[in-house]
């Protein structure tokens, strides 16, 4: 499922990242890579704050819907 459907407080694992090459590459730099675990800290209107390794990253709805997690 896309990351936007994960519940607040839930920890999920990334299975794939979709979208344009540029965006994927950028997300990769932040540590959004397959098998990485992501915890949803908060969500508003589809924008998320997630914890990824030791970083807090804010992403918007469009980006979050391209990150497929399980």
């Amino acid at each position: 499922m896309p990351l936007i459907f994960a519940a607040i407080g839930q920890t999920v694992h990334i299975s794939a990242i979709q979208g344009k090459k540029e965006m994927r590459e950028r997300l990769t730099g932040f540590g959004f890579v397959p098998s990485a675990s992501v915890k949803i800290l908060s969500a508003h209107n589809g924008s998320l704050i997630v914890q990824l390794k030791d970083t807090r990253v804010a992403i918007d709805h469009a980006v979050a819907s391209q990150i497929i997690v399980s």
Binding site: E22, R24, R26, T28, G29, F30, R56, A62
Partner: protein
């Protein structure tokens, strides 16, 4: 031969702090990503032959954002003698991703694990030895903020640069992936320097666009590399880039698991998370933001700032400096015109600007507290949700927040925005946010005409934000600005207590530039303005005039004044003031100071702004204030717009848009305000209504059909 040492690392990993302590310079450091957008160089303290190069913070060496391109070009093409890779010790895994790429460049490199004080405080243990063995280069501990280890690391980097020892990391790749890269290495080995082999081979495998277009490889070589990549992609069922990325992260995760002993489990709630749960709360986030910004402006203009400014204007200048200067000049029989030049021209002009410096310092202090503490990055996130509705991304707000200090770095910060149309729109709207130099105008109007009312400064700020939002909606409907707003991905740095040194540096650097300007540009314009307002044509010759209404300046001002008459401030003084604001915005106050003779102590000695206040009504003052806040910025900011737009046509359009927008807003405020006050209709009332109708039409009209489609897709 000079030795060049580059500082490379993730955003917010402490590069600029290290740069400052190594070079003794005072570059501003902010607690958010993207503070350094250009590379900066400085001499290592005590070493004339060593140049330290601060690069923008980057997450990887991919060529997608401006900062990445700047950093990558420098590292690959200019080849520094050594790299100090600064790694945030509290965030090893993500930081090491860039490290694995830097190691491939074949440049002598050492790793400085920064923020060791925080790592220790958290109770984590990092095995430096293990890291160093696996990564094949020296690794040292560092606390850049506390200057622990900075110079030791610089010395090590010099030795490393002299030894020319390149890193020898443990192999990153294995299996079919390694074989493919080796094959590519084989075909390019004849035409590539040996130390560049790993980097070039991997980039060819990934199909890196920049490398493919700029390199001098023969077509056969490129085709062969592509064939190899395609074969491997098929075999491993993933695209080349993802394969390499995955390999890097696997390597890093394993390394970190071995070398780091965590005191707390991953994903534990930190102190920062707890603050975030409140300030980015679904419902409370916006009210908290509004209260914070209100307090910033309220405190700096109305309370603390006002108190200090009043003292400076009335006691320091009004009672002490001006009378004593006048008396002593008179005692030496100095010509009356010279006394007037000094007391009215110089002290009146420069002094009225200097009087507001305390307020600016308070504003800058508060802004840097917000930045340093880490709240600014959250504001970008909070506002992204709102801005997105109006076609701007939250990233556009970062330039605007920086712009609340000064528009020039604000406009430059727009470089972090990937999408061209968003970038242009941000550049055009950044200077709507009142910058520090507009603070004196706000404070003057608030003080002289609204009795220091508490709401004037926050109002000015919210007018700026509203102007940005309205412009966003209007411009987004034009094809040149259409399209989906840039995707928003922003790191939220942990909150921390601001270091007093950094706060001081930030406040001082921004504040002092105003003091400096008061002594140069403002001084010069004040003198010129004084002459122009003291002399005039009478009986065919230039004379000293009794009344500045007969002066040269008055005749010049009167030419343009009718243009501003519909806005309620068609006096020649206000016209000259507005134009002098193009030199520097605080100059508006300096000019009014000379023209209305602020330095003159009136009967009773408390109110200097009487004459000024008499020529304005509350309504025309508001209109004057808003026009000066929104119209074309100062020359320095215009120059920056030209540089960032990289197009004369776009620059012209931007300036025209701002000025026209300012004119329409002020016109409506004054004309509709006058109508409400019961002053009846005139031709300008109808013009105002007409422009208002145009504005509303532009706001609510439907965008062209093809743009609508793009929007829908982005919401799907």
């Amino acid at each position: 031969m000079k030795i060049h040492i580059a500082l490379a690392g993730n955003p917010n990993s402490g590069k600029t702090t290290l740069f400052n302590s190594l070079t003794g310079s005072a570059q501003y450091v902010g607690n958010w990503p993207g503070v350094t957008v250009e590379k900066k160089e400085g001499m290592l303290k005590g070493h004339r032959d060593v140049i330290i190069q601060d690069l923008p913070g980057i997450y990887s060496l991919s060529p997608y954002t401006q900062e990445e391109i700047v950093a990558r070009n420098y590292l690959v093409d200019d080849r520094p003698d050594a790299i100090i890779n600064i790694v945030d010790g509290t965030n090893l895994e993500r930081n090491l991703y860039l490290t694995t790429q830097l190691l491939e460049l074949g440049i002598p490199m050492l790793i400085a694990i920064n923020m060791m004080d925080l790592v220790r405080k958290r109770g984590d243990v990092i095995d430096i030895q293990k890291l160093s063995e696996s990564l094949g280069c020296p690794v040292f501990e560092l606390s850049a903020l506390k200057s622990e280890g900075s110079f030791f690391i610089a010395e090590k980097a010099i030795l490393l640069a002299r030894s020319k020892a390149v890193p020898t990391p443990a192999p990153l790749l294995s299996g079919p992936l390694e074989e493919s890269i080796d094959k590519i290495k084989n075909i390019i080995t004849d035409c590539t320097e040996e130390r560049l082999l790993p980097w070039t081979a991997i980039k060819l495998f990934e199909g890196d666009e920049v490398l493919l277009t700029c390199s001098s490889f023969a077509d056969e070589v490129l085709d062969e590399a592509e064939r190899i990549a395609e074969k491997t992609e098929k075999l491993l069922d993933d695209d080349a880039q993802s394969l390499i990325t995955a390999a890097r992260y696997t390597y890093i995760t394993e390394l970190v698991n071995h070398a780091v002993d965590r005191a707390l489990p991953l994903h534990a709630m930190t102190f920062s998370d707890r603050i975030d749960s409140i300030v980015t709360h679904r419902i409370f986030a916006l009210p908290i933001f509004a209260v914070v910004m209100f307090l910033v402006y309220f405190v700096s203009v109305t309370t603390v700032g006002h108190f200090v400014t009043e003292f400076t204007n009335e006691t320091l200048f009004g009672e002490w400096i001006v009378p004593s200067v006048k008396n002593s000049l008179a005692a030496y029989d100095v010509a009356p015109w010279l006394i007037s030049l000094i007391s009215q021209g110089i002290i009146g002009g420069v002094g009225s600007v200097l009087g507001f410096v305390p307020q600016m310092f308070v504003l800058f202090l508060m802004l840097s507290l917000l930045e340093e503490g880490g709240y600014m990055a959250r504001i970008a996130f909070i506002l992204d949700r709102i801005f997105r509705r109006f076609g701007l991304s939250g990233k556009s707000f970062i330039p605007m927040l920086i712009g609340s200090g000064c528009s020039v770095p604000g406009i430059m910060a727009s470089r972090t925005i990937e999408q061209e149309s968003d970038r242009r729109m941000t550049i055009m709207t950044t200077s709507f946010i009142p910058c520090g130099a507009k603070m004196p105008i706000i404070a003057l109007i608030a003080g002289a005409l609204f009795g220091g009312a508490w709401w004037v400064a926050p109002l000015a700020y919210f007018v700026g934000v509203t102007a940005v939002i309205i412009s966003g909606i209007i411009l987004k409907k034009f094809r040149a600005f259409g399209g989906i707003p840039s995707p928003f991905v922003l790191e939220l740095p942990p909150y921390h207590w601001p270091s007093p040194k950094n706060i001081w540096l930030a406040t001082w650097e921004r504040g002092f530039s105003f003091v400096k300007r008061a002594g140069t540009v403002i001084l010069l314009t004040s003198i010129i303005l004084w002459f122009l307002q003291a002399f005039g044509f009478e009986d065919g010759a230039i004379h000293l005039v009794d009344h500045n209404a007969d002066s040269l300046l008055a005749s010049i001002g009167r030419v343009a004044a009718p243009f501003f008459a519909p806005l309620g401030f068609g006096t020649w003084q206000a016209t000259v003031g507005t134009f002098s604001g193009l030199i520097a915005k605080e100059n508006v106050v300096g000019t009014l100071g000379v023209l209305y003779n602020f330095s003159e102590v009136t009967e009773g000695g408390t109110q200097h702004w009487n004459q000024f206040a008499n020529e304005f009504s509350a309504l025309s003052a508001l209109s004057f204030l808003i026009f000066n806040l929104l119209c074309a910025p100062c020359f320095a900011a215009m120059g920056t717009i030209r540089k960032e737009m990289n197009s004369g046509r776009w620059t012209f359009f931007a300036l025209l848009y701002m000025t026209a927008f300012a004119y329409v807003v002020s016109l409506n405020i004054y004309q509709i305000g006058s109508l409400i006050k019961g002053e009846g209709f005139n031709v300008w009332t109808f013009v105002a209504f007409f422009t208002l109708a145009v504005l509303l039409y532009l706001l609510i009209r439907k965008p062209p059909a093809d743009l609508q489609k793009v929007r829908k897709r982005s919401h799907a």
